[in-house]
C-alpha cells in the first residue's frame, strides 16, 4: 500500500480493540498518520502488531501480479475444481468466519483453525466433563487467589497482570482486595505480580511435563487425602530382618531423612498451596492452552478443572482460560452456533460431520487428504501457510510468512486495523467491536470470500 488517501493527516482513535491476542484489550489509543499507526498503551505484542510497517502487496496468481478480479477468478476456479477443499487458518473476525463457513458448506469442504490444537486441549474437557469458569472482569474484581499453571502469561498476554491481577481498584470491600498469586511451572516470568494488591507470590518450579504430578498432589490434598512421605531408604525390615540388621555394614548409622517431594517440589510447598485453595473466597486457576505443550495436555486441563470442581463444594473457585490468539475463539464460536460443532467439521456429505481427529486440517495435510487448501490469515504474520503439495489459495495480511508461494494470493486487511467487525474474547463470553483505523484500503477477508463465492 503506497501513498495513503489521507496524505499525512493525523487521526486519533480511542477505545480501540486490539486483535493481536485473545484478551482483546479495548482501551487502546491509536494515532494514525497516513498509513502509519502509533499505539499509546499497548503491550509489546499490540505495539508490534499495529505498528508493523505494511509491506506492499498485490494479488498474485502463481508468481505473477494480477488484478484483484483475476485473482478472485483464479481462486474460484481452483475451488470449483476441488473435490475436498480444506478451509484452514481461519484467522479472521466473525464476519470472515461467517464467509468461510458459508463457502465451506456450499463447496463441501472442511473447516479448522490454525490454532485449534490449543483450543482442543480445552474442548476435550468441555465435551467429556464440563467445567466451572470465570471471565476477565469477574476475576479482576473478585479473585483473592490466582493460580497460573504452566503458562508464561506475562509474555503471552502482556497486559493480563496490569488489567486483571494488579489493577488499582476492586469492586468489593474485603473480597479480592489482597491476592495471592501462585505460579506452577518453571521459568515463568513472575515480575508483573507486584504492587499493592499482591499479598504473596508463590512459585512451584516444576518442569512442564511434570506439572500434572504437582496438580495431582494438590487435587489429592484438597480432597483430604494424605500423601505419605516415602519410606526411609533401607529402613530396617521388620521381624526377621531385625535379627540380621546388625550384620549389615553401616546399618548402625541413622538413615538419611527422606525427602518428601513431588516432581522435585517440596511436599510442604504443595500442601501450602492446597491449604490456600481451601481458604480462598474466590480462587481462579489460569492457563493459556497453547502453552500447555506437555503430552495429553487435555488431561492437565482436566486436572485443573476437577480441582476447581472439588473446591466449589465448600468455597467458590473457577477456571480462566486465556490464549485465543489469531481469532481462534471467533472461529470456534461462530462455527459452533452455525453447525453445533467447534471446528474440525466436514461438509463433504452435505451435512456437518464432526471429528476432532479426522478433520484436523494439519493432520489431513500431513496425511495427504484434501486437494486444495484455502488459508485465511488476516491478523498476525506468524501463522503462515503450512508446507503442502496441494494447490493453495491464501487470503493473508501483507507480510504473512509463506512456506511456499501460494497458487493464488490475495492481500486482505486486518480486522480492527483495516476493517471493522467483531471478535470473540478468550473467555468466550464477551465479544468486541473492531474498528477500521483507516490504515489501508485492503478489503476484508469476508469481502474477498463473498466475491470468490459469487464467482463460483
Amino acid at each position: 500500500m503506497t501513498a495513503h488517501a489521507d496524505g499525512d493527516a493525523t487521526h486519533t482513535y480511542n477505545n480501540v480493540t486490539c486483535p493481536f491476542c485473545g484478551l482483546l484489550c479495548d482501551d487502546l489509543t491509536v494515532t494514525r498518520t497516513g498509513s502509519t499507526l502509533k499505539v499509546d498503551n499497548g503491550c509489546p505484542r499490540a505495539t508490534a502488531g499495529f505498528q508493523r510497517p505494511l509491506p506492499p502487496a498485490k494479488p498474485m496468481v502463481r508468481d505473477k501480479e494480477v488484478s484483484l478480479d483475476e485473482a478472485i477468478k483464479a481462486a474460484a476456479g481452483l475451488i470449483r475444481a476441488s473435490k475436498l477443499p480444506l478451509y484452514g487458518g481461519m484467522a479472521t473476525d466473525v464476519g470472515g468466519v461467517r464467509a468461510i463457513m458459508d463457502m465451506a458448506d456450499r463447496t463441501c469442504g472442511v473447516v479448522d483453525h490454525a490454532l485449534s490444537e490449543g483450543q482442543y486441549r480445552n474442548l476435550k474437557v468441555v465435551q467429556t466433563s464440563g467445567w466451572i469458569m470465570s471471565t476477565l472482569t469477574e476475576t479482576r474484581n473478585r479473585a483473592d487467589l490466582i493460580i497460573i499453571v504452566g503458562s508464561d502469561v506475562h509474555k503471552l498476554h502482556g497486559r493480563f497482570f496490569d488489567r486483571i491481577v494488579t489493577p488499582e481498584h476492586t469492586m468489593f470491600e474485603g473480597v479480592g482486595q489482597k491476592r495471592t498469586v501462585v505460579f506452577i511451572g518453571e521459568g515463568l516470568d513472575t515480575s508483573a505480580a507486584t504492587g499493592p494488591r499482591i499479598e504473596e507470590v508463590i512459585t512451584l518450579p516444576v518442569a512442564k511435563d511434570r506439572i500434572p504430578e504437582v496438580l495431582a498432589a494438590i487435587s489429592a490434598r484438597v480432597r483430604g487425602f494424605t500423601i505419605p512421605a516415602p519410606d526411609a531408604p533401607a529402613a530396617a525390615p521388620p521381624k526377621k530382618g531385625g535379627i540380621f540388621a546388625g550384620l549389615i555394614p553401616g546399618s548402625k548409622l541413622t538413615p538419611a531423612a527422606p525427602v518428601h517431594e513431588i516432581a522435585g517440589v517440596p511436599f510442604d510447598a504443595i500442601d501450602n498451596v492446597a491449604e490456600k485453595c481451601k481458604k480462598a473466597n474466590y480462587g481462579v486457576v489460569v492457563w493459556s492452552p497453547p502453552a500447555l505443550s506437555m503430552p495429553q495436555a487435555d488431561l492437565t486441563v482436566h486436572m485443573m478443572t476437577e480441582i476447581v470442581r472439588e473446591l466449589n463444594l465448600t468455597t467458590r473457585f473457577a477456571g480462566l482460560s486465556l490464549g485465543g490468539n489469531e481469532g481462534a475463539p471467533s472461529a470456534a464460536s461462530t462455527c459452533t452456533w452455525q453447525t453445533g460443532y467447534p471446528l474440525r467439521v466436514s461438509f463433504a456429505n452435505g451435512a456437518p460431520e464432526y471429528d476432532s481427529y479426522r478433520y484436523n486440517i494439519s493432520r489431513m495435510l500431513t496425511d495427504g487428504e484434501g486437494d486444495l487448501l484455502v488459508w485465511v490469515a488476516s491478523i498476525g504474520t506468524d501463522i503462515g501457510l503450512p508446507q503442502t503439495k496441494i494447490p493453495t489459495v491464501v487470503l493473508g495480511t501483507p507480510g504473512l510468512r509463506l512456506a511456499q508461494p501460494p497458487s493464488v494470493y490475495i492481500p486482505v486487511g486486518t480486522p480492527g486495523v483495516d476493517n471493522a467487525g467483531q471478535m470473540v474474547r478468550c473467555d468466550n463470553v464477551v465479544s468486541l467491536p473492531m474498528k477500521n483505523l483507516g490504515r489501508s484500503q485492503l478489503p476484508s477477508s469476508a469481502e474477498v470470500l463473498a466475491a470468490i463465492q459469487a464467482a463460483l
Binding site: 477505545n15 458448506d105 466451572i132 471471565t135 453445533g340 452435505g350 463470553v429
Partner: protein, 555 residues
C-alpha cells in the same frame, strides 16, 4: 404486487375474528383492507384452511453464549440430527440445541415467524445478536438480564435515586438492544459468586444486603415508569425446589398490583405433599392469579426426552448439576454482570418427578382461564425443544389424546396433580391467542400477531386436521412480510427477519457514573459495551424495528 388469500377460516383474536371466512389482501409486505377494483397479482385459494398470523414464541433460548456453550457441550445430541444443505438452505444440526440457521428454518416450517431470546446478558449482548443475525426467517428480539449485575446492586445498596436506577435500566436496554428486561434468580447469581447457595425471596444478599423482593419490585416499578410494554420478566427464586410454590405465591402477592410476567412457572409450582414431598402447586397458583390480573405467565412445559437446560441461574443450575445426563455440565460467573449454567437433562415418562413436572405444566395451562395471560412455551430447550409445540397443542386441544398419553406416564405422579380431572380443551381461538395475539400484545409488537389491515404480512395457513399435532407440525403456507417462505412444511425461500427493540427515554448523564464504573472495574470500555445499530443492520443483513413505549412517568 397484490396477493389475495381467498376464503380461509381466520382466527385473529386481536381483531375478534373467530374462525370466520375472510379474504386477506397483502401488498408491499403488509396486510391491507380489501381494495376496490384492484388487480390481484397472485391468489391463493385457502378455502377450508385455517388462517392465522405467524406464530410468536415469546420465550425461547435461541441465541447467546449459554446456547453456544450447550451446543459445544453435546456433540452427541447433534449427531442424531444432522441437517443437509439444499440449494436454498444451509447445513446445520438440530435436536435440542439446533444451530442458528436450522433454528430459523424449523421455526418457520412450524408456522412461527418471530421468536424472542429471553436471557441476554448485557456482557454477551453482541454475541446474542450475532447469533440471532444468523437465524433466518424469523423476527427476533431479546430480553436483557438485570438483577445480579453489580452496577444495579451498587445503585440499590447506595440508595441511589429511583430516577437514576430507571436511567440505568433504560441505558442497558439501549446498550444491549433489548425489547424487555428479565430478572433471573434476583440477586442470586451475584450471591452465588459470594458463595451463597440459596437466596429466598426475603433472604438478604450476603454482600449487598438487599433481598430478591427488593430487586423484583425495583425493576418492575422501573419498567412500568419507563413505559416499557412488556412487564418485568421474572425467573423467580428457588427454581426446581419442592415447596417453591410458596415463594412463587409470595412473589405474586409482593407485586401489589404491579405488572409482572412469571416465566416457566411450571418450574416454580412445586408443593410438598405426599410421601416424596413433591406435588403440584398449580391449583394454588391458578387461584391466586385470578386475583392478580396484572400478572401473566408462560409455562415452560416439560416434554419427555433428552434435552439440555441452559439458564442464567448459575446458583440453581450448579445445584441441579448432580442430575446431569450425560454427566457433564458448565457453570460460569460472568463479568460482574450475570452468570450461566448449562446442564444436559433427560425427562423420563416413567420417572415420578418428571411425570409430575409434565402434569404440572399441563395443569397450569388448563387451570388458567384467561388465555391472554398465558403463553405456550417449553422454555426451549429447558423443558423440551421447540419442535414439541405441535404435540403440546394437541395435548391441550384433545382431551382423549391427553388421557391416552397419561396412561404412559408414571401413574403415581398423577395422584399428586389435578390433571386427570381436568376436562378443558383449548379451542383454535385460544391457541391463536396463546401463540400469536397474546405474546404480541404482551411484548408490545405493534404490527405482529394479527392479520388485520396494517399488520406485517406474517401469515400461516394450516390444513384443518383433527390430529392437531399433524396440523400444527406442517403448515401448508407460511408468509413472511408477504413473501411465501414455506410450502407444505418446507422452506422454499430464505429471507432475514428484523430485530425488535424498545427504547425508553433516559437521561444521558447516567453515562458519567457508568463510564467511571467501567473504567475502574471493567475489562470492556463503556463505549464498546454498547452495541451499535450498525452492528445489527450489518450492511442490510438485519433491520431494527423500534417498538413504541409509553411516556416516562415518575411516582
Amino acid at each position: 404486487m397484490l396477493i389475495k388469500l381467498t376464503g380461509g377460516k381466520v382466527y385473529d383474536p386481536t381483531n375478534n375474528i373467530n374462525g370466520e371466512v375472510r379474504d386477506i389482501y397483502v401488498a408491499d409486505g403488509r396486510i391491507i383492507s380489501p381494495p376496490a377494483d384492484a388487480r390481484v397479482d397472485k391468489e391463493y385459494d385457502v378455502r377450508g384452511r385455517v388462517v392465522m398470523a405467524g406464530a410468536i414464541d415469546p420465550h425461547t433460548h435461541i441465541g447467546g453464549g449459554k446456547v453456544t456453550i450447550a451446543r459445544t457441550l453435546l456433540p452427541e445430541d447433534h449427531e442424531k440430527d444432522e441437517v443437509h444443505h439444499t440449494a436454498l438452505t444451509r447445513a446445520g444440526t438440530g435436536h435440542a440445541l439446533p444451530s442458528t440457521m436450522v433454528t430459523g428454518y424449523r421455526y418457520a416450517e412450524m408456522g412461527y415467524t418471530a421468536a424472542f431470546e429471553p436471557a441476554m446478558l448485557p456482557a454477551n449482548a453482541r454475541q446474542a445478536h450475532m447469533e440471532m443475525g444468523d437465524t433466518p426467517l424469523l423476527d427476533k428480539g431479546a430480553f436483557v438480564m438485570l438483577g445480579s449485575d453489580d452496577f444495579l446492586l451498587r445503585l440499590m445498596a447506595s440508595k441511589a435515586s429511583f430516577e437514576q436506577i430507571k436511567d440505568y435500566i433504560a441505558w442497558t436496554m439501549h446498550a444491549a438492544q433489548a425489547i424487555a428486561v428479565k430478572v433471573v434468580n434476583p440477586g442470586g447469581i451475584s450471591a452465588f459468586k459470594f458463595n451463597q447457595r440459596k437466596l429466598d425471596l426475603d433472604e438478604k444478599h450476603v454482600y449487598y444486603g438487599m433481598t430478591p423482593r427488593d430487586i423484583i419490585l425495583t425493576l418492575a416499578r422501573g419498567l412500568l415508569e419507563l413505559g416499557i410494554t412488556h412487564p418485568l420478566h421474572v425467573h423467580g427464586c428457588n427454581l426446581g425446589i419442592p415447596g417453591n410454590v410458596e415463594t412463587t405465591l409470595a412473589t405474586i402477592r409482593a407485586t401489589d398490583g404491579l405488572p409482572l410476567h412469571l416465566t416457566h412457572i411450571q418450574f416454580h409450582s412445586y408443593a410438598t405433599e405426599g410421601d416424596r414431598r413433591f406435588s403440584s402447586g398449580a391449583v394454588q397458583i391458578a387461584e391466586l392469579l385470578k386475583k392478580y390480573p396484572n400478572i401473566s405467565i408462560d409455562v415452560g412445559q416439560v416434554m419427555f426426552g433428552a434435552t439440555c437446560t441452559a439458564s442464567g441461574d448459575s446458583m440453581r443450575q450448579y445445584n441441579g448439576a448432580k442430575n446431569a445426563d450425560p454427566k457433564r455440565w458448565v457453570v460460569m460467573d460472568i463479568e460482574c454482570d450475570a452468570g450461566c449454567g448449562v446442564v444436559p437433562f433427560r425427562y423420563r415418562d416413567k420417572s415420578f418427578v418428571h411425570a409430575l413436572q409434565w402434569a404440572i405444566g399441563l395443569e397450569t395451562f388448563l387451570l388458567c382461564e384467561d388465555p391472554w395471560r398465558i403463553f405456550l412455551t417449553t422454555d426451549h430447550p429447558n423443558g423440551a425443544p421447540f419442535y414439541t409445540y405441535p404435540h403440546l397443542i394437541r395435548l391441550l386441544m384433545d382431551r382423549d389424546f391427553r388421557r391416552e398419553t397419561m396412561l404412559r406416564v408414571n401413574p403415581e405422579a398423577l395422584q399428586y396433580s389435578t390433571l386427570p380431572h381436568l376436562e378443558r380443551e383449548y379451542s383454535m381461538y385460544d391457541i391463536a391467542i396463546l401463540t400469536r395475539a397474546g405474546p404480541a400484545k404482551s411484548l408490545g409488537l405493534k404490527d405482529l400477531g394479527h392479520v388485520g389491515p396494517g399488520a406485517r404480512a406474517d401469515i400461516t395457513v394450516y390444513k384443518d386436521d383433527a390430529n392437531r399435532e399433524r396440523m400444527f407440525m406442517t403448515p401448508e403456507l407460511v408468509f413472511k412480510n408477504g413473501e411465501l417462505i414455506v410450502r407444505d412444511g418446507k422452506v422454499i425461500k430464505v429471507v432475514n427477519g428484523a430485530t425488535h427493540v424498545a427504547r425508553p427515554e433516559f437521561d444521558r448523564s447516567i453515562e458519567k457514573p457508568l463510564k467511571d464504573y467501567f473504567d475502574r472495574y471493567h475489562t470492556v470500555r463503556m463505549e464498546n459495551f454498547r452495541l451499535s445499530d450498525d452492528e445489527i443492520i450489518d450492511g442490510g443483513r438485519g433491520e431494527i424495528i423500534v417498538q413504541p413505549t409509553r411516556a416516562r412517568t415518575s411516582s
